[in-house]
Symmetry: C2
């Protein structure tokens, strides 16, 4: 049976248990209190991501268990995995190029990249630059969850928050006023988009969706496909966007991993084509 | 079989299902998407709390199902239930007096009340008054979860945040620097404290504990007991406190309902004496 190595499993019990129905699952997390590890067949406390022994430890797990795909469940190790994939130490890692990993981890770099690719990104500036309009959101370039995100109604509030979170490297982005959407995308190992499932965000906690509805919206499907193919994503990717009443769709985040609302890719896909199933088939060498 | 009416069930599936093991449970929530209702025997969409028909609707449910205790799972209707209990419309409500309900819903009133009772509360002032030291937390007097809570390092930051959340009626409280604890307390219908379970807060999300450990700490047990008996609490109450390195224990919140970490009162109590079991026995008229 093909094995899947899931890293940074944290509290994502639903994802680990979904994979465990289709493959042998090895769960890795430096934190021995990570709840999601208990849904896996094998639980391993690995070195911290910044430790030079992190990738060798994953390498050894791949060899020991015959792992066909390494899937990160957190943002924190995607760049390290992308580097290890690129230089041949961890070819099983289902992650994009180091350049895409770095650009999508930094929301300001992501904004520049989306602009270069002609994809819609809300007006975004760095502290000291004047945004085209207010209100804005002041947020860390490399934030996760809803950490340190502050709406600012005017220039004085924006300037205050840029000072207040100066240690977190802030950026200033138009506060998008329309409804928020996510697109749960899956690409194969060659960067071909296999599916896009758009959903609405009805309620969120800590930046992650906890209530929403899967949508039949061709514009969002097309936007998701365009983004992941332009960025050369491999594996799962969640693209977040708002549909602003004035400026239309704008992409506010690209996470090259499963998003907060895992039920969509697990349950809204066609039978036999849930994302864990497709990833397990990819891991066994099949072309989807 | 005794019936229990749980109000504002929201996402608190674990609490509803724990009660459902010991009694017929009626779950009430104005929101038809409330996930926790599905753990109950009876699900009812009731009027909004501010609607004059709210209490009559609960009254009708009590009569229809033979309800012995009404237990609110959110902060939002405790004052309304306390008033209805006090004037005889809903004697089944397991809530404190209207005065205690009002004072604990407003964190500044709670501070004044704790001070009057000689109980430890961190230094707290209103906007415009100078706190004895910095850093402080600027937070809404009637906030819930971690909504609109802002740490401020100095007077300038504190003044900014008082203006920023002026529409939320802010207060300014010493930022307690020590570890955070919660005490899950249970009192009977006469205000007698039945049990106190202290626990540490290792990790929280949206202001609610998601990781912690139950503690054997006599000082915290005594503090919890003193608080709920001084306030005349009925039913569950969660007392939050920090143990500051300089000023020692300080109570930062008193919620006369189950706290975020329900596993403690459900699993850390002695066999047969979990809080849902004790409440079901109270509801059937037993003196514990």
């Amino acid at each position: 049976m093909t094995a899947i190595l899931l890293t940074g499993v944290g509290k994502r019990y639903d994802i680990v248990s979904a994979f465990a129905q289709h493959a042998t699952v090895v769960a890795a997390d430096p934190n021995p209190l990570a709840p999601a590890q208990y849904a896996a067949h094998h639980r391993v406390a690995v070195p911290l991501i910044k430790d030079p022994e992190y990738i060798p430890a994953l390498r050894a797990l791949c060899d020991e268990h015959g792992v066909g795909a390494v899937v990160p469940l957190t943002d924190l190790d995607i760049e390290v995995l992308a580097q290890a994939r690129a230089d041949g130490r961890l070819p099983e890692a289902l992650v994009p190029s180091p350049e895409t990993a770095a650009a999508t981890y930094d929301k300001y770099e992501a904004h520049l990249l989306l602009q270069r690719l002609g994809l819609p990104s809300p007006p975004t500036v760095l502290p000291g630059e004047e945004p085209p309009s207010y209100p804005v959101m002041v947020k860390p370039r490399r934030g996760s969850g809803a950490d340190a995100i502050h709406p600012a109604r005017d220039a004085e509030e924006a300037a205050f928050f840029c000072r207040y979170i100066a240690d977190k490297d802030p950026m200033v982005q138009r506060l998008m006023d329309g409804p928020e959407f996510s697109m749960d995308c899956l690409s194969d190992t060659e960067g071909r988009c296999l599916n896009v499932i758009p959903r609405s965000m009805l309620e969120s906690r800590g930046g992650e969706s906890i209530k929403g509805t899967v949508l039949d919206d061709a514009e969002l499907v097309e936007l998701g496909r365009t983004v992941v193919e332009a960025l050369g994503v491999r594996g799962p990717c969640t693209v977040q966007a708002f549909r602003d009443r004035e400026i239309g769709l704008g992409i506010t985040d690209v996470n090259t991993r499963f998003g907060g609302a895992f039920p969509a890719p697990a349950y809204a896909a066609r039978p036999g084509r849930t994302y864990p199933e497709l990833i397990v088939r990819m891991a066994s060498g099949e072309r989807i």
